[in-house]
C-alpha cells in the first residue's frame, strides 16, 4: 500500500514537472503545440499537485509510519486537526503546500479574462518556470513521500506548542500571501518582456496585488496573535528575525499596492513599480525559506538543514539577477516621461513609499547585523527592541502626516491652505481630544502626544472620506476600501502606543486562597487541580477576577505535560474586556506551597486587533471592487 502511494505521488509530481515544461514553451517561442489550451494544462498541473497533497493528508490521517515525514511529525493519538496541521508543520509538507498555492494561482490566472492572450501565455510561462524549479527541489531535496524500511509502531509527534488551532491555519494564509506575489512577479516579468507596463498592466495586476497583500497581512496578524496568547510573554511582536522576515515583504508590498494604484490612475512610476514587485517577491521567498533554513537565529527556529538553505539562496540569486538584468535592459522602454506637480498626490505617495522603504532598511539592518558580525568577527550578538522603537518612531510620525495629507491632494495640483481649511473641524476636534486625553492621563511625552494626535486625525479624515453622510442615509464611496484600511492603520497605531504606555505586569508567588492585586483588579486564587487528558496531563489553576467589587470572570491558566515528544507548555488565560485584556500565566510548580503567577494588564488589545482587521478588510474590498469595475468597463 505504502509503496503504491509513494509511486503514485512521485508520478504526479513528475507529471507536474512535465506540464510546467510544456507551459513554459511560450518563453522560448515554441508555439506548435496546441493539443490542449493553457488553462487545460494549468488544470492538469493544479490537479496533479492537489491530488498528491490530498495523498499526504491521507497518510497523516491514517498515520502511515512507513513514511518518514509521518513518522517524524505525527503520532497516532493526536487529535485529527493536528494530524492535518502536521502536514504543513514541517519543511517537506510546507514545501508541497507552497507549490500547491503556486499552481493554484497559475490555474486561476489562466482562467481569468482580464488580459490579452499573448500576455497571459507569457505570464503563465514565467510562473510555470518557477513551478518547475520548486517541484524539482521537492523531488530531489525534500521529497515528502520518502519511505523508510523500519516498522515503526508510532510516530515521534508534533511539537505541542504548534498544536494550536490558530497555528494550523497561520501557515496556509501566510503562504497564500507570499505565493500571491509570485504571480505579481510573473506579471512584472511579462510586462518587462513585452514592454507593456501601463494602465492596462496595473488594471490586470491590481486585484491580485491587493488579494496577496491582504492574505500576507492576515498571515502576519495571525502569527502575532498566536505569539500573544501562546508564548505568554505579554507581547504581540518581538522584533524576532522570523517576524522581521515576514514584515519586510509586507513593507515593500504596501509600497507596491500604492504604486499600482498610481500606475493605474496616472500611468506613471513604471520602473519603481517593477522594482517593488521584484523586491517583494524576493523578500517573500527569503522570508518563507530562510526561516526554515536555520540561517536566522530566532525563538521560532525549527530543526533545519543548511543544504536546503543553499538551494534557496541559489534560486533567489537566479531570480534576482535575471529579473534585474531584464529590468536594466528594458526600463528605458517602459518609462513614459510624465510631468506632475510637486503638490500632487503622486508626491505624497512617493514620499510614503520612501518612508516604507526606510522602515524596511531599518528592519533589514537590524536582522542582518547579527549575521554579519557573526560571520566577520565571530561575535554573537542580538539587536534589542529599543533599536527598532527609536529608529522607526520618527519615520512613523512623518508617515502618518503624509497618510493624512496624500488622499486630500488631487492628482493634478492642490493648494495646501485650502486643504487645511477643509479639514479645520477635524483638526480642531482632534486637537481638543488629544489635549483632554493628555490632561486626563498625565501624558507629557511629546512623541506619544504627536502620534496620538496624528492617528486621531487619520482615523477621522479617512472614515469621513470613504463615507458620505447625507441627512438620512450613509453612502459608501468607491474608495471605501482605502479609507477603511487607512482608518484601521490609525486605530492600530493609536492602540500600539497606548498599549506600550499603559501595560502593567507583576509576578506573584501565590498560595491557594490568597488574593492578588494589580492596578484596580483583584485576583482571587481559588484552587489548583490536576487532570489527565488524551495526549497530555495538566495542572490547572482557578482564579476569579474582580474590579471594584464587580465580578469580571474566571481565569484557568494551565500547564500541560505532553509525552510525545516530551514537552511542557503553559496555556495563558485571558479575559478580554472592551478596553483592556487581563492576562494570567502560571509557572511549573517548583514546590508544594506556592506557585508563580504572572499577571498582565494589556490595554487596548481589542482595539489593536480591530485596527488590523480593518486593514485586511480594506485590502479585500479594494481587490473585489476593482474587479467589478473592470468587468463593467469591459462590457462598455
Amino acid at each position: 500500500m505504502s509503496l503504491v502511494i509513494n509511486y503514485i505521488a512521485n508520478s504526479l509530481l513528475i507529471l507536474c514537472l512535465v506540464t510546467s515544461i510544456i507551459q513554459s514553451r511560450f518563453l522560448f517561442k515554441i508555439q506548435n503545440y496546441n493539443l490542449l489550451s493553457i488553462s487545460q494544462i494549468s488544470a492538469i498541473q493544479f490537479l496533479s499537485i492537489l491530488v498528491s497533497f490530498f495523498l499526504l493528508i491521507f497518510l497523516f490521517i491514517t498515520s502511515d509510519f512507513n513514511f518518514d515525514l509521518v513518522y517524524f511529525h505525527s503520532h497516532s493519538e493526536k487529535p485529527l486537526i493536528y494530524k492535518l496541521s502536521g502536514v504543513w508543520g514541517n519543511h517537506e509538507g510546507s514545501m508541497l503546500l507552497w507549490i500547491l498555492i503556486l499552481v493554484l494561482f497559475n490555474f486561476l490566472f489562466s482562467l481569468s479574462k482580464s488580459s490579452s492572450q499573448k500576455f497571459k501565455e507569457i505570464t503563465v510561462a514565467v510562473q510555470s518556470l518557477m513551478i518547475f524549479g520548486f517541484v524539482l527541489f521537492l523531488l530531489l531535496l525534500s521529497n515528502p513521500f520518502n519511505i523508510n524500511n523500519e516498522n515503526f509502531n508510532d510516530g515521534l509527534g508534533l511539537n505541542p506548542i504548534l498544536q494550536d488551532p490558530l497555528l494550523a491555519i497561520h501557515p496556509p494564509i501566510l503562504y497564500i500571501g507570499y505565493v500571491g506575489f509570485s504571480l505579481i512577479f510573473s506579471l512584472s516579468i511579462t510586462g518587462l518582456l513585452t514592454s507593456e507596463v501601463d494602465k492596462k498592466w496595473a488594471t490586470v495586476a491590481k486585484p491580485w496585488v491587493f488579494a496577496a497583500w491582504s492574505f500576507l497581512t492576515a498571515g502576519i496578524a495571525l502569527g502575532s496573535y498566536w505569539a500573544y496568547y501562546e508564548l505568554g510573554w505579554g507581547g504581540y511582536w518581538f522584533w524576532d528575525p522570523v517576524e522581521n522576515a515576514s514584515l519586510m515583504p509586507w513593507l515593500s508590498a504596501t509600497a507596491l499596492i500604492h504604486c499600482v494604484v498610481v500606475l493605474q490612475k496616472r500611468n506613471t512610476m513604471q520602473s519603481w513599480t517593477m522594482v517593488l514587485a521584484i523586491l517583494t517577491f524576493s523578500l517573500s521567498l527569503a522570508g518563507a525559506f530562510l526561516v526554515r533554513s536555520g540561517v536566522l537565529n530566532s525563538v521560532h527556529t525549527f530543526a533545519s538543514d543548511p543544504g536546503r538553505g543553499l538551494f534557496i539562496l541559489i534560486f533567489l540569486f537566479i531570480i534576482l539577477s535575471s529579473s534585474f538584468l531584464l529590468f536594466a535592459l528594458k526600463s528605458d522602454k517602459i518609462n513614459r516621461p510624465t510631468l506632475h506637480n510637486i503638490s500632487s498626490r503622486n508626491t505624497g505617495i512617493m514620499v510614503n513609499n520612501w518612508l516604507l522603504i526606510s522602515i524596511l532598511i531599518v528592519v533589514f539592518l537590524g536582522t542582518m547585523y547579527p549575521l554579519a558580525t557573526d560571520l566577520l568577527y565571530n561575535q554573537s550578538l542580538t539587536v534589542g527592541p529599543q533599536y527598532y522603537a527609536i529608529s522607526i518612531t520618527p519615520i512613523i510620525i512623518l508617515f502618518l502626516f503624509f497618510m493624512i495629507l496624500s488622499p486630500k491632494l488631487s492628482w493634478e495640483e492642490s493648494k495646501l491652505l485650502k486643504i487645511i481649511n477643509e479639514m479645520r473641524y477635524i483638526l480642531i476636534s482632534c486637537l481638543t481630544i488629544t489635549f483632554l486625553t493628555t490632561l486626563y492621563y498625565d501624558l507629557f511625552n511629546i512623541t506619544e502626544i504627536l502620534i496620538i494626535f496624528l492617528s486621531l486625525i487619520l482615523i477621522i479624515s479617512s472614515l469621513s472620506s470613504g463615507l458620505n453622510f447625507k441627512s438620512t442615509k450613509v453612502i459608501v464611496k468607491s474608495n471605501f476600501g482605502q479609507s477603511m484600511a487607512h482608518a484601521g492603520f490609525g486605530i492600530f497605531i493609536l492602540a500600539v502606543v497606548s498599549n506600550a504606555v499603559y501595560s502593567q505586569e507583576k509576578i506573584y508567588d501565590a498560595k491557594v486562597g490568597s488574593k492578588l492585586q494589580l492596578d484596580e483588579y483583584i485576583f482571587d486564587f481559588k484552587n489548583i487541580e490536576q487532570e489527565e487528558k488524551v495526549n497530555f496531563n495538566s495542572i490547572k489553576a482557578f482564579l476569579s477576577l474582580s474590579k471594584n467589587g464587580k465580578d469580571l470572570g474566571d481565569f484557568t491558566p494551565e500547564i500541560r505535560f505532553y509525552s510525545d515528544p516530551p514537552t511542557i507548555t503553559s496555556e495563558t488565560s485571558i479575559i478580554h474586556q472592551f478596553f483592556s485584556d487581563v492576562y494570567v500565566v502560571m509557572n511549573v510548580p517548583q514546590n508544594q506551597e506556592s506557585i508563580s503567577l504572572r499577571l498582565h494588564i494589556k490595554p487596548f488589545m481589542n482595539i489593536l486587533w480591530l485596527g488590523v482587521v480593518m486593514i485586511i478588510l480594506g485590502g479585500i474590498i479594494t481587490a473585489i471592487l476593482n474587479k467589478k469595475n473592470y468587468r463593467e468597463n469591459e462590457i462598455n
Partner: protein, 144 residues
Amino acid sequence: MTDTVKNRLIKFLVSLIIFGIAILIIVYNLRDNIVYFYSPSEIIENNQTGSQIVRLGGLVESKSVVSDGDSIFHFKITDGQEQISVKYQGILPNLFAEEKGVVVEGIYMNDGRFIANKVLAKHDENYMPPEVIKSLKETGKWQE
C-alpha cells in the same frame, strides 16, 4: 556629457549621499542597542562586568537549580570549562531544564555572579541555541 546624463549623475549622487547618511544614523543607533553574547569562558576572559546588558549561554549544570521562594531561582551555567552562578527572579520558561541549553540576558556583576532579567525560551525541546552549540564546540564539549 549631455544634460540628461549630467542630470542623472547628480540625482544619483545626491540620493547616494542621503542614503549613506541615513544608513550611518541607523547603524549608529544600532550599535547602542546591541546585546553581546558570551559563553561562561568568554565572559570571564573578557571580564565584562558593569552595567552593560549582555547575554550568557551554555548548559544548565545538573543539580544546580535552587529556588528560594518569591520566584527567585539560582542556577549555574556551564560550557564544560567555566561556570557562572545566575540569579533570576521571574517565571522560568517551560523548556528550561538541567543539562539543557539556555540563554539568559542580564548583567555580569563584579563579584562574578550574573543577575538575569530574562531567561529565553525556545520552541523545540531538542533545540539548542546556535551560540551555545558554537561555544560548546570551542570547548570540545559538543557531541553530534
